[in-house]
């Protein structure tokens, strides 16, 4: 077990390093001078001074090896340098905004798990019956609605037509807990809806697969109660694939909440990211992406460890 965890940990660290290296080398492989590229907007050439200035600012004038080493060292210390736009330290901005994004994701995840796992299990156990057909059809519809679309529609419905919830914005919990919760509802529902479609689908498929296994028949033949068979010989086995997908989705979610946050003016990482992209503030974009990738790798590491606790065979591989 320990050796399995250590091996996974090593893999995770290597991945982290590879991701960092790739993000770093993107600047090296773009055709032409990255500084010039970043300053080029709509075909208008940037002035030589500005380009020189930016090169200095981003350290592009130093030898590549030196840039690489200092990039890795800075990143490891959570120091991403200063924003090209307003000169504030990027890590401070991230430290301020990341918790808000994480809050949104965590609450949505809890809501989605609590609803989708029971629904998926029930649908999987009763595949082809009325509930399953209805739930699967609804699921297929919601799968097809991108988060920014459902977000926009929710604002129209709940904030404009019904006027029962705020259209967006953010108030710190400490400042006004009730308002904070109200403003959290729509973004949470939007993100959770998206998550639920995936978790429902996976749970249903996994339950459907597990229930066809011989050991389920053994469980029934032993005279176990139906509930016991479902819990111990179907759900426990189905959980492994489900948490793997949940882990993967958490990572993707970190990206796709960008749109939801943007729709609701939720001041998480997204606003920062979008404005950085618009203003072509490469160091800031790079920092956000590195942070997200690191969180993603960490989540996947935890998922792998959890999976190995659920299924002893995994530890052998």
């Amino acid at each position: 077990m320990t050796s399995y965890v250590l091996r996974r940990l090593t893999t995770a660290l290597v991945m982290l390093w590879v991701v960092g290296t790739i993000v770093f080398s993107v600047l090296l492989i773009v055709p032409g001078d990255p500084a010039e590229l970043l300053l080029t907007t709509g075909g208008a050439d940037a002035s030589t001074d500005a380009v020189e200035n930016l090169r200095k600012k981003m350290g592009l004038d130093r030898p590549v090896a030196e840039q690489y080493v200092s990039f890795l060292a800075d990143t490891a210390r959570f120091d991403f340098g200063d924003s090209l736009i307003d000169g504030t330290p990027i890590s401070e901005t991230i430290a301020l905004r990341l918790p808000r994004t994480l809050e949104l994701i965590a609450v949505s995840m809890v809501v989605a798990l609590a609803l989708a796992i029971p629904a998926g299990t029930y649908a999987g156990l009763n595949a082809g019956k009325r509930f399953d057909r209805a739930a699967s059809a609804v699921n297929a519809l919601f799968t097809s609605i991108p988060g920014f679309v459902s977000g926009t529609l929710f604002i129209y419905l709940f904030a404009q037509v019904l006027r029962i919830l705020p259209a967006g914005g953010y108030v710190a919990f400490a400042q006004d807990p009730w308002m904070h919760v109200q403003m959290l509802i729509l973004p949470t529902v939007t993100v959770a809806l998206h998550l639920m479609t995936i978790i429902f689908r996976m749970t249903r498929a996994s339950v459907l697969e597990m229930r066809a296994h011989d050991w389920v028949r053994t469980g029934i033949a032993k005279g176990l109660r139906r509930r016991q068979v479902v819990r111990r010989h179907i759900l426990r086995n189905a959980l492994g694939p489900v948490i793997t997908v949940v882990g993967l989705q958490l990572g993707i979610l970190l990206g796709s909440t960008v749109l939801v946050e943007f729709v609701y003016n939720w001041p998480g990482l997204s606003g920062f990211l979008v404005s950085s992209v618009q203003q072509r503030d490469y160091p800031s974009v790079r920092a956000v992406i590195l942070t997200v990738a690191a969180i993603f790798i960490a989540i996947n590491f935890l998922v792998e460890v959890a999976y190995s606790l659920l299924d002893p065979r995994i530890r052998l591989t």
């Binding site: 799968t143 050991w215 016991q228």
Partner: protein, 640 residues
């Protein structure tokens, strides 16, 4: 082409085709211009010249939706094609050459998977600025690893199949094997991935455009339209509703197509999958109405009476089991013998109330003598009562010891749960009992092995665990369904011996129903034998007598075709085995009259006319007009 489409694929293909046609040809036949601005007509309501009204700049909304869809589809299609071709190539190369190619393919996709897709897209947009070309490039880079991964693992799976090995053995060139044999067999999963990618590309393209980082204005795009109309959603809700609906409909129809495609290619994903024992057991009302269960003889443990099972089909039920009667007695081993499809396993599952839900009882009854005294009809029992009976009065072991134990629980936990299902004892007591049972079935160091996981034990050991588990309820009847078929010969002999020993020493009086296709094992273990063919019992009686002097031509032919029964024959001396011609009749193609007649060397015209009964003589019976005890065959012949 569309006529040859499988039925479930027709509707989604039609919808998708209609959508693509509209978006491709729609803009060609309409006159409105998606970018000409008309400020005085801002947010005009639908009219004859502008079916969907005009947007916040007075542009024709229908034209914008159609042109925008065209852009989305083009981006999605181009990106998916590039990702698909490049990825599949990568995957095939990785699978064929392995080594460093495999490493690069797999690791590359691991790394790309670390970046949430939309973030990677944003990173690139930061460097190159927004635009259609950038989008296509980013999306193909994003999605080609998924194709590489699928092509790689599917190619490996297919390459391990015997028919690929056969192509190699034939001396076919590697390039030919990859393109002509492997590639066609992995196209299914790849086409599913293609539709998934197309849907995801549209989502990301519209998302980026919504952020103002995708398609550059004034070129129309759905994401942009939503972005623009958001500010005016109060005055002009159509502005957001139209592009939202168009986007959702497009993604939905691709997903719908993809789902159906997946179900068609891999039936396991469909609803029909799975053994359905877990579906709630229902007491059979018809059987309950048949009156109270009869009293069985004191030494009869269970009786199957005239059992009929059928598979309901639109054109009428298909008989799978056709009037099987079996009497299982205390302290007796009854062997149920037959080839695949004879119905021997279905009969045994029926005794446990474990029939797949698709199969319906069509008649007959199953009576079980309970340990507590009294006889019950299985069909009249409710869910609870059936659960109480299973594992307690009747226990079962299965053919595949490798898959019959749950891999994620220790064997101890699986045994303890079986013991506690029927006895109100503490977990500690149950554990002690489990160790005792494991010891009894010959598992060395039972006290330590009880904490093993199934994968840590060999096949023979796992089958011993299954036997110990079956014994834990001290059943009166144990059903063993081909318990040694998956095991090696020497292990098989050990398991047969174990079952014999247990019957004598441990569970005195236990009845054993042993299902097997192997007459040699049956000769060693069985007291009584019932030979099944095409859903019927064709011969039954004391094992030694039936095997020594078979009365039914099928039993005789089965014995004649066994090499182990003819140790004096050898192929090099010109000897041949007396094989039965033809193949066992499938349920939907059973001949009239005697089910065996088209393979029977003794068949006469009368065999086609009516179905022979099971004619008894003394302790034996055979379902043949020419068996001892049957009506005079000569008379029948004369009458025919």
């Amino acid at each position: 082409m569309s006529l040859s489409l499988p039925k479930p694929m027709r509707l989604p293909s039609l919808i998708l085709l209609a959508l693509v046609m509209t978006l491709v040809f729609g803009p060609m036949i309409m006159s409105a211009d998606p970018i000409s601005i008309s400020v005085k007509d801002r947010m005009a309501l639908p009219s004859w010249s502008h079916w969907l009204g005009q947007d916040e700049f007075g542009r024709d909304r229908l034209a914008r939706v159609l042109y925008g869809g065209r852009v989305s589809l083009t981006v999605a299609f181009l990106a998916s094609v590039i990702a698909c071709v490049v990825g599949t190539l990568f995957g095939l190369i990785g699978a064929y050459f392995r080594g460093p190619f495999e490493f690069v393919t797999m690791r590359l996709s691991d790394v790309v998977l670390c970046f949430p897709p939309i973030l990677l897209a944003l990173l690139v947009v930061t460097l190159f600025g927004p635009g259609v070309t950038t989008l296509v490039a980013v999306l193909s880079v994003l999605y080609f690893p998924a194709f590489a991964r699928i092509a790689f693992s599917e190619a490996l799976r297919v390459a391990a199949l015997d028919f690929v090995e056969a192509a190699r053995a034939l001396g076919a060139a590697p390039r030919r094997i990859v393109l002509r044999t492997v590639l066609p067999n992995i196209l299914g999963p790849i086409s599913v991935q293609f539709s998934l990618t197309a849907a995801a590309s549209i989502t990301i393209e519209s998302g980026l455009s919504f952020l103002g980082l995708g398609v550059v204005p004034p070129a129309p795009s759905w994401g942009q339209m939503i972005r623009g109309a958001r500010a005016f959603m109060n005055q002009d809700p159509t502005g957001i509703l139209v592009p939202c609906a168009a986007l959702t409909l497009t993604i939905w129809s691709i997903n719908f197509f993809c789902d159906r495609l997946r179900d068609t290619l891999d039936p396991k994903h469909g609803e029909s999958a799975g053994k359905d024992e877990i579906a709630k057991a229902r007491a059979d009302a018809a059987a309950a109405a048949a009156g109270p269960a009869q009293i069985l003889d004191a030494d009869v443990v269970a009786q199957v009476k005239d059992l009929r099972l059928a598979l309901p089909r639109p054109e009428g039920p298909l008989a799978l089991i056709d009037g099987v009667t079996l009497t299982l007695r205390q302290n007796e081993c009854t062997a149920l013998v037959g080839e695949s499809g004879s119905g021997k396993s279905l009969t045994s599952l029926a005794l446990m109330g474990l029939l797949p839900s698709a199969i319906r009882p069509a008649g007959g009854r199953i009576l079980i003598h309970r340990k507590t005294g009294g006889t019950v009809d299985l069909a009249t029992l409710g869910e609870r009562e059936t659960e109480d009976l299973r594992g307690n009065d009747v226990a079962m072991i299965f053919q595949e010891p490798m898959t019959s134990l749950n891999p994620i629980h220790r064997i101890g936990a699986q045994m303890i749960e079986a013991i506690r299902a029927h006895k109100a004892i503490s977990a500690e007591e149950a554990r002690a009992r489990a160790v005792e049972l494991l010891d009894l079935v010959g598992i060395p160091e039972a006290g330590r092995r009880i904490d093993s996981y199934p994968h840590e034990l060999s096949g023979g050991m796992r089958q011993r665990v299954m036997i110990a588990m079956a014994l834990s309820g001290e059943p009166k009847l144990m059903i063993a369904d081909e318990p040694t078929t998956a095991l090696d010969v020497t292990i098989q002999a050990e398991i047969v011996e174990l079952l014999q020993r247990l019957r004598q020493e441990y569970a005195a009086g236990m009845s054993l129903l042993f299902i097997s296709h192997n007459l040699g094992i049956v000769a060693e273990i069985a007291d009584q034998i019932a030979v099944m063919y095409a859903g019927e019992v064709v011969e039954q009686g004391p094992a030694a007598e039936v095997l020594a002097t078979p009365h039914h031509p099928y039993t005789r032919a089965l014995l004649d075709s066994m090499p182990s029964a003819h140790e004096d024959l050898h192929s090099s001396r010109g000897d041949r085995l007396a094989a039965i011609a033809g193949t066992p009749a499938r349920p939907e193609a059973r001949p009239s009259g005697c089910a065996f007649r088209d393979r029977c060397p003794q068949a006469r015209p009368c065999c086609a006319e009516s179905r022979p009964e099971l004619y008894p003589t003394g302790t034996r019976a055979a379902r043949c007009f020419f068996a001892p005890g049957a009506d005079q065959p000569q008379e029948r012949e004369a009458g025919a």
